[in-house]
């Protein structure tokens, strides 16, 4: 479904980097992601990925704060 939405990008965590390509964990599903647009990304960073390329590093403090609020709602 994510594939269908052109401008939707999904977050994942970088597990490994080799030759500018990262192994990224999307909540248990692994995929290879190009770092051509985000050369500063490091192992452990949460990134947002669009069409197979990382486009931005996620600010984890802001993301965690949101997850906490979701947990409170649930």
């Amino acid at each position: 479904m994510y594939n269908l939405f052109m401008c939707l990008a999904i977050p994942g965590k970088i597990i490994l980097i080799k030759d500018n390509i990262a192994d990224v964990d999307f909540g248990g599903v692994g995929r290879k992601v190009g770092l051509d647009l985000l050369p500063d990304a490091k192992i452990g960073d949460y990134i947002i990925v669009h069409a197979g390329f990382a486009i931005q590093i996620l600010d984890t403090d802001d993301a965690k704060e949101r997850l906490d609020i979701f947990k409170k709602i649930l």
């Binding site: 594939n3 269908l4 939405f5 052109m6 401008c7 939707l8 990008a9 190009g34 051509d36 647009l37 985000l38 050369p39 500063d40 947002i48 669009h50 069409a51 197979g52 390329f53 486009i55 931005q56 996620l58 600010d59 984890t60 802001d62 993301a63 704060e65 949101r66 609020i69 979701f70 409170k72 709602i73």
Partner: protein, 350 residues
């Protein structure tokens, strides 16, 4: 960040007059429709869908040209949403079922693998999308160039969001009071290219994320700006959007492409709103390589997609909507795309 009930009550207290808010991005349109956000908002907050559906604004002539190349034994690759879009007489999906080699990919870089695995065939990528997508294709072209892959090229039908917003602000048929700006386009370009919205047009705009709580918070930020009468470009989606965007990606994009006037389906030509190849990478330009001239194709008479894309009409005002035009048998592009306004209205109601 506030919790959702608090945001909704704050929105209600700030919504004192009729406010037209355009959500520019098709992904926002779908998120708003599927989450039922409209039913939570006061009646005087009018959410209007904008032109940010890449498939919807891609001219039929682009699809006709891709079909022509497919019939001439090229391998055509694109993202899934493009397949069903009607050209003037057929769609890529119909041609695929009649034997043309048309493939859907997840990552732009998959096209490199396809080109390598089919050295005797020409592989043509139908490139549609906004500033989120075009840098991934620019990166792919650079990889192809580095690896000296010659049988790969791109039909560049990429579009830029800010020039389209300028057209919407300049038209007089409907007044847009504020914008919910696209999250992931902005993750690339940052807030600066939208500056004219608040400076010249005195219109508030908030770069917003895609969760329902993000969208509600974005609307709350907009109403606060309206109340204080201080329009600015604000970032709600801070976890993904840095003020400067991703300058590395922008630089890479503009090393492969440069701005050009571009045709938007149903809207017309918008100045400097598209991307064409720079001289250095023109060998990857499918239009040059195969000497293609994109034909100008009239939309079906009575189809209101152009007006829907600019917020002037709602889908249900179109005579075809829900009767002759449905997701299974679409007439206009807004019904085809999974993030098209008509498709969202058809699936989730108004």
């Amino acid at each position: 960040m506030l919790n959702m009930n608090t945001i909704i009550s704050k929105i209600k207290s700030l919504a004192i007059k009729k406010t037209n808010i355009m959500e520019v991005c098709g992904t926002h349109t779908m998120a708003i429709a599927s989450s039922g956000i409209k039913s939570l908002l006061p009646k005087n907050i009018n959410l209007i869908s904008g032109p940010g559906c890449p498939v919807c604004v891609t001219p039929a002539g682009i699809i006709d040209s891709a079909i022509e190349l497919a019939k001439n034994k090229c391998i055509i690759i694109t993202f899934g949403d493009m397949l069903k879009v009607p050209g003037s007489i057929s769609s890529l999906e119909k041609e695929k079922s009649s034997g043309c080699d048309i493939r859907i990919i997840y990552s732009a870089s998959d096209s490199i693998k396809i080109a390598k695995n089919n050295p005797k065939k020409e592989v043509v990528f139908v490139g549609v999308g906004f500033e989120t997508t075009s840098p991934t294709i620019a990166a792919t072209v650079k990889i192809a160039d580095k690896e000296k892959i010659k049988n790969f090229s791109v039909i560049s039908a990429f579009k830029l969001i800010p020039p389209a917003l300028k057209i919407i602000l300049e038209q007089k048929k409907i007044k847009i009071d504020a914008f919910i700006l696209p999250g992931h386009v902005s993750a690339i370009i940052g807030f600066q290219p939208y500056g004219f919205i608040s400076k010249k047009f005195k219109t508030p705009a908030v770069i917003t994320g895609f969760e329902p709580s993000d969208i509600l918070e974005g609307i709350f930020f907009i109403l606060k700006q309206i109340k204080s009468n201080k329009p600015e470009i604000e970032i709600q989606y801070k976890r993904a959007v840095k003020p400067q965007g991703n300058p590395f990606a922008v630089k890479l994009l503009y090393s492969v492409f440069e701005e050009t006037d571009s045709q938007w389906r149903g809207i017309g030509i918008i100045k400097n709103s598209g991307l064409k190849f720079t001289k250095k990478y023109e060998n990857y330009d499918a239009l040059k390589k195969f000497k293609i001239k994109i034909k100008n194709i009239e939309e079906p008479a009575g189809c209101l997609c152009g007006k829907v894309l600019t917020g002037i009409a709602k889908p249900q005002q179109c005579g075809y909507f829900g009767e002759n035009c449905t997701p299974l048998n679409p007439i206009g592009p807004c019904m085809v795309s999974s993030e098209g306004t008509c498709a969202a209205y058809y699936k989730y109601g108004f």
